[in-house]
Symmetry: C2
Subunit: 334 residues, 2 copies
C-alpha cells in the first residue's frame, strides 16, 4: 500500500524537462515534434502517469459517460438492450452507467433532474409512463436524451419505439393462417401502454383475417407466469373449443403452455400458442414457443447510435424510429 499520491502531469513535465502544456499537447496529439512526444512518453512510463479523467472532465466539460435508465435490468427486454448498448457505446469510448429506477416514477424524474449534475454526457431512458413532468423535464435537459418507448409527438427528443400493436397483429394473423378458428388472447393490464397496444393489435389481427372478435376469449391479467397459467386454465376450461392462445408476453404464454399440459391438451395439435418478446425462455420451452420479437436488441443499438450522433454534434431535428416486430415460428404453433 504505497500511499504515495498518483503522479500528475507536473511530475511528467519535470522528468521530461518540459512544461506541462507540452506534456498535455504531446499526450493529446497536438504537437508535431516527434522528439517531444518520445520524451514525454518516456517520462510517462517512468513515473507511471495515468491521466485523471475527473480533471479532464472538469476542463473539457464532458465525462465520457452515458446513463441507461430503466425499470429493472432483470426484465429480459431491457437486458437485451443493455447488451447492445454497452458495446456500441464502448466502441466510441463511452462508459455505461446503469440506473434501475424500480417501479418508481419519481425515481425516473430524479434521474432526469440529476442530469444537470452533469456526470454523464447523455442518457438513454425507458420510461414506464410519460407524465407531464417527464415532458417538462425532457424539454430542458442539459444533455442529449434518447427515449426508448412511446413519447408524445411534440416532445423534441430522439425516440425509438417498438410496435407491439403490429406485433400482436402478426401473431394473430399467423395463428389464423395456420388454421386456428378460435383464437384466445391473454393480455396484461389494459391500462398499461403495452397492454393496450397488444389488445388493439389482437383485434386488428382478427379483423384482418376476417374474424369476429369474441370478448369471451379475451382475458386481462398480469404479465407473469403464474397469472398466465391460472388465467389460461380458467379460459380453456370455460371455452374448450379454443384452438389457439396468444399470450401478451412469453411468461403468460409459458403459463398457457403449462395450463394446456395440465388439461391434457396437445400443443400444437389441439391448441397453438404464440408468445411475445422472444425471450430466451421461448427457445427452451417445450414445445419451443413461437414468439413475436419486438427487437429489443435493435432498439438498444439504435438508441445508442442516435445518442452518439447527438454527442457528435448533430443537431438535426429529433428523430423518431420505429423498429418493426418480427415473428419467430417455433413448434408451439407449427
Amino acid at each position: 500500500m504505497s500511499q504515495r499520491r498518483r503522479p500528475t502531469i507536473h511530475e511528467v513535465a519535470k522528468v521530461a524537462g518540459v512544461s506541462i502544456s507540452s506534456v498535455s499537447r504531446a499526450l493529446n496529439g497536438n504537437t508535431s515534434n516527434a522528439d517531444m512526444v518520445a520524451r514525454v512518453n518516456a517520462a510517462v512510463r517512468e513515473v507511471g502517469y495515468v491521466p485523471s479523467v475527473v480533471a479532464q472532465s472538469l476542463k473539457t466539460r464532458h465525462t465520457g459517460q452515458i446513463a441507461f435508465a430503466m425499470e429493472d435490468i432483470g426484465n429480459a427486454a431491457y437486458l437485451e438492450m443493455v447488451r447492445r448498448i454497452q458495446p456500441t457505446l464502448r466502441d466510441e469510448g463511452y462508459r455505461l452507467l446503469l440506473h434501475s429506477t424500480g417501479a418508481d416514477v419519481e425515481d425516473e424524474l430524479g434521474v432526469l433532474a440529476s442530469l444537470s449534475q452533469n456526470y454523464v454526457d447523455g442518457l438513454i431512458l425507458c420510461p414506464l409512463r410519460v407524465t407531464d413532468r417527464h415532458v417538462e423535464a425532457l424539454r430542458q435537459t442539459a444533455v442529449p436524451v434518447v427515449v426508448i418507448g412511446l413519447l408524445p409527438d411534440d416532445v423534441p427528443v430522439d425516440n425509438v419505439r417498438a410496435d407491439s400493436r403490429v406485433g400482436a397483429q402478426l401473431a394473430v394473423q399467423h395463428l389464423a393462417e395456420a388454421g386456428a378458428r378460435r383464437i384466445a388472447f391473454i393480455d396484461g393490464p389494459l391500462d398499461t401502454v403495452p397492454g393496450r397496444a397488444r389488445y388493439d393489435g389482437y383485434r386488428m389481427g382478427l379483423a384482418a383475417a376476417g374474424r369476429e372478435t369474441d370478448d369471451a376469449l379475451i382475458r386481462f391479467t398480469d404479465f407473469r407466469f403464474d397469472a398466465g397459467r391460472q388465467t389460461a386454465r380458467e379460459l380453456l376450461t370455460e371455452h374448450p373449443d379454443v384452438d389457439a392462445v396468444f399470450g401478451a408476453n412469453d411468461l403468460i404464454a409459458m403459463g398457457a403452455l403449462h395450463a394446456l399440459r395440465e388439461l391434457g391438451r396437445d400443443v400444437p395439435g389441439d391448441v397453438r400458442v404464440v408468445g411475445m418478446d422472444d425471450t430466451p425462455l421461448a427457445a427452451t420451452s417445450f414445445p419451443p414457443l413461437s414468439s413475436v420479437s419486438l427487437g429489443s436488441a435493435d432498439r438498444g443499438r439504435i438508441a445508442a447510435e442516435l445518442l452518439l450522433r447527438r454527442l457528435d454534434g448533430d443537431d438535426a431535428p429529433p428523430e423518431r424510429v420505429t423498429v418493426p416486430p418480427s415473428l419467430t415460428v417455433r413448434e408451439s404453433s407449427r
Copy 2:
C-alpha cells in the same frame, strides 16, 4: 436550448450576498447559522443551482461511482448479481458503472488498469480466470476491489465465492436419496473453474452416497442448451439404464429434459433431472426443474456490502466469504 451556462456556486454566493466558502459550508451542513442556510437555499432555488459532481470529485478525490465488471451481463448469474448490487450501492449514494468485458481476458486487465484513472471509488470484479497478471494488478490497485469468484489465498483482496462443488454434491445426494441408482452427469468443459468444481462435487456426492463412479455416465460439453440436449441424447441412448441426470447448469439440464422427452422417457418417473444455477428457466420449464442455487443474488449483495465497508474506511484484513449453495426441489426430481 438556452445556451446559458449552468450557474455555479459563485452565482449563488452573489445572490445570497455571502462568500462561496459560506455557500459550500451551508450546502454541506458545515455551518450552524440557520439564517445563512436559509439564505443560501433561497439563492440556490432562485438561480437553479445544481452542484457539479465533477468539480466535487476533483476536490474530494472520490466520485460516488463503483464499477461492476463481468463477462456478459446476459449471463443469468451476473444478472442476478447486478440486480442486488445496484440497489445496495444506490442506497449509499453510489452510482453503478457496468463493464461487460466479453470473453476477453485482456479487457479485464484493462479494467483493472483503468482504475488508476480513478473515475470510480471501487470495483467489483468477476474474473473469468485469474492469471498472474490479474494477481499483480490486484495487488496494486488504487481503489478497493472485491472479487467474486475463486481467488488464490495470498491475494490480499476481499473475495466472495460460491461453492459449486458442494452444490453439485448436494444435487447428487438428493438424487441418490430419491432412489436413483444410475446418476449421469453432463458437465461443461473440465478446464474451466466451474466445470472442474462441479465434476469434483459430483464424485464426492456419489462417494458420500456410497456409490461407485462410473466414468461412462460422465460427459463433458459446453454450458449450452443445444450441447446439453445433444449430449444427453447420446448418453441416454447408450445407457438406457440411467435413471437420473445432473446437468452442470440449467441450460444443460433443460437440454436433457428435451432429449428425454424426445426419447419418450418420463420425467421424473423414468429419469430424474437436476440442474444448477436456479435461473428463471428452471421455474417455468416442464416439468419445473430442480436446481441448485449458487446464491448469485447473495454474492452480489455481499460483495457490494464488503466494498461499501472498505469505502467507509475499514482496513481490516481482506475477507473471504463463501456463500453456501442451496437446492430447490421441483417436479423434475420429485
